[in-house]
Amino acid sequence: MVTTRKSHFAKGRLVDRNLAAWLGVAPFFIFAAMFLILPTCLLLAGAFQDDHGQLTLQNIANLARPDIIKSFALSLKISATSALVGALFGFVLAYAAVNGGVPSWIRPTLMTFSGVASNFAGVPLAFAFIATLGRTGLVTAALNKIFDFNIYNAGFNLLDFWGLTLTYLYFQIPLMVLILTPAIDGLKKEWREASLTLGSSAIQHWRYVILPILWPSIAGSFLLLFANAFGAVATAYALTNSSLNIVPILLFSQIRGDVLHDPNLGYALAFGMVAITGISNLLYIVLRSRSERWIK
């Protein structure tokens, strides 16, 4: 009798506690639904509706317009190049700071700086590159003065593909350093010693030990960097003032004033962007779980 009452009491309290817990997390889920999930879903649903709200695939098909194809191609090119160069150089830099035998103060300096630079994106970054490599920028002027070499006559333009890529690298490389350093830390000294004992050369050690272990991390980070560049608006907008028609800039103009003259095509454009960043993030998650097998 007594035990039943007691367990009843405990059960009641448990329900009470769980209720409190669910009430405690409720604001989070309401917030996420209202300001993250529903707006995105509603927007993406618009990509599959016509003016009267009927289901259609016409908007997606309309993405095949030459100007839209061109902006997707340019966006993919800039994102892929800045991610590739960022991943490679970020890897080399991180590896140099961790295992390169440079003075020990370089590593914490690089990490702190990477934290700052990966957050120093957007409008101010564009200003910095205009002051550096713009037509009257310091480096442009210095090259002109010292080597009598005008980079603009040689075909460089800060407001073009290479200029934007070079600017994006300022946050891509530091991001790579931050993501990859833990993976490089996970390379054990014993593996190097084991390779040496077995008589392998440095190249063989890289080819058969380091790269097979690190490649999922490197490839995964590449995808993350790619998605990061693909969604960026502010840097490109401040740098080129919407003259360079990459997808986020096109979408920005579309939201401002329906430049495509078709609101539903705008939703389709948004869908295309989410599809690309979504897929690259999904692949990143797959690769990350692979890399975690070795690096604990």
């Binding site: 409190a20 817990a21 405690g24 997390v25 604001p27 989070f28 917030f31 996420a32 300001f35 993250l36 707006p39 995105t40 509603l42 927007l43 080399v92 590896y95 140099a96 700071a97 295992n99 390169g100 035998g101 440079v102 690089l110 702190t112 700086f113 934290g115 957050n119 120093f120 957007g122 409008v123 101010p124 970054l125 564009a126 200003f127 910095a128 590159f129 205009i130 002051a131 550096t132 480096v139 300022y170 490389i173 440095a202 998605a227 969604g231 960026a232 608006v233 502010a234 907008y237 401040a238 986020p248 979408l251 939201i255 705008g266 939703y267 948004a270 989410v274 960043t277 979504g278 993030n281």
Partner: protein, 263 residues
């Protein structure tokens, strides 16, 4: 071995050149407003511009509101997930990572469609409504950083024991959260707050598309109109970012210290 050392040095020097050059150039450029001499005239003009002052103050207030709302949403969630609802952890973690997957421009486009003047909740109709929308939008943008910081802090303390101890002394859960959990994860919350601040203070896309006069759109406007002031503003923005990251490290160091002392 010598060879790999040389390569490492080369990488470090190349990296230093690439990263320091724009900073040096921007600083030099920002001093060139007066024709014949270096001066801080561009900084003086910017700092005394009333539009700058109002835009910066506005962003400052927005950042603080965002941080407060973020803490109010994230701390209880992380607490209950840790204590009673561990099964929800993957779901909550997935949601907090969404802002890294969905570009900001998509989220704000969704807001404009969902909360427009003819919708069920016409937030964009009034200034106050838009400000509320912008603050919650910034909470969403900074969710990955805030949640991860708070969650790490929560894992480093024994939430279960602390809660039981407080309960046995008769505390109800608001008291537990406010006077037991919160002080114990103070440095983690600070880390999240500084990252949020760095994200919000110069944010451009949300503010510009919701037509709010924050610091980000102001920067863009000055960039389109002026020559030397943007460089001065870039240096100011860089110093702010640097300060946030510096304070972040101080907060992180304090957290490690507290953990070390506990063990």
């Amino acid at each position: 071995m010598k060879n790999s050392n040389l390569g490492a040095w080369l990488a470090v020097i190349l990296g230093a050149l690439y990263f320091l050059m724009p900073l040096v150039a921007t600083f030099e450029f920002s001093l060139r407003l007066k024709r014949d001499e270096y001066s801080f005239e561009a900084y003086r003009i910017v700092l005394s511009d009333p539009v700058f002052q109002s835009a910066f103050t506005y962003s400052l207030v927005l950042a603080i509101v965002t941080i407060v709302i973020g803490i109010l949403i994230v701390v209880p969630t992380a607490y209950w997930v840790q204590l009673r609802l561990p099964k929800l952890r993957p779901v909550v973690e997935f949601i907090t990572l969404l802002p890294l997957v969905i570009p900001a421009i998509i989220i704000v486009f969704g807001y404009i469609r969902m909360y427009n003047t003819s919708s069920f909740l016409p937030l964009t109709q009034t200034v106050l409504g838009t400000d509320i929308l912008l603050s919650f939008g910034y909470v969403a943008l900074s969710l990955p950083y805030m949640y991860r910081a708070v969650e790490t802090g929560m894992r480093s303390i024994d939430v279960g024991t602390l809660t039981e101890a407080a309960e046995s002394l008769g505390a109800k859960w608001p008291t537990i959260l406010l006077s037991v959990i919160l002080p114990n994860i103070r440095s983690a919350i600070l880390s999240g707050a500084f990252l949020t601040f760095a994200t919000v203070i110069g944010e451009f896309t949300f503010a510009s598309l919701l037509n709010r006069p924050t610091f980000g759109p102001y920067l863009q406007l000055i960039g389109a109109k002026r020559a030397y002031e943007p460089a001065a503003l870039a240096i100011i923005a860089f110093v702010i970012t640097w300060a946030c990251m510096g304070l972040l490290q101080v907060a992180g160091g304090a957290a490690r210290h507290a953990n070390g002392a506990k063990k």
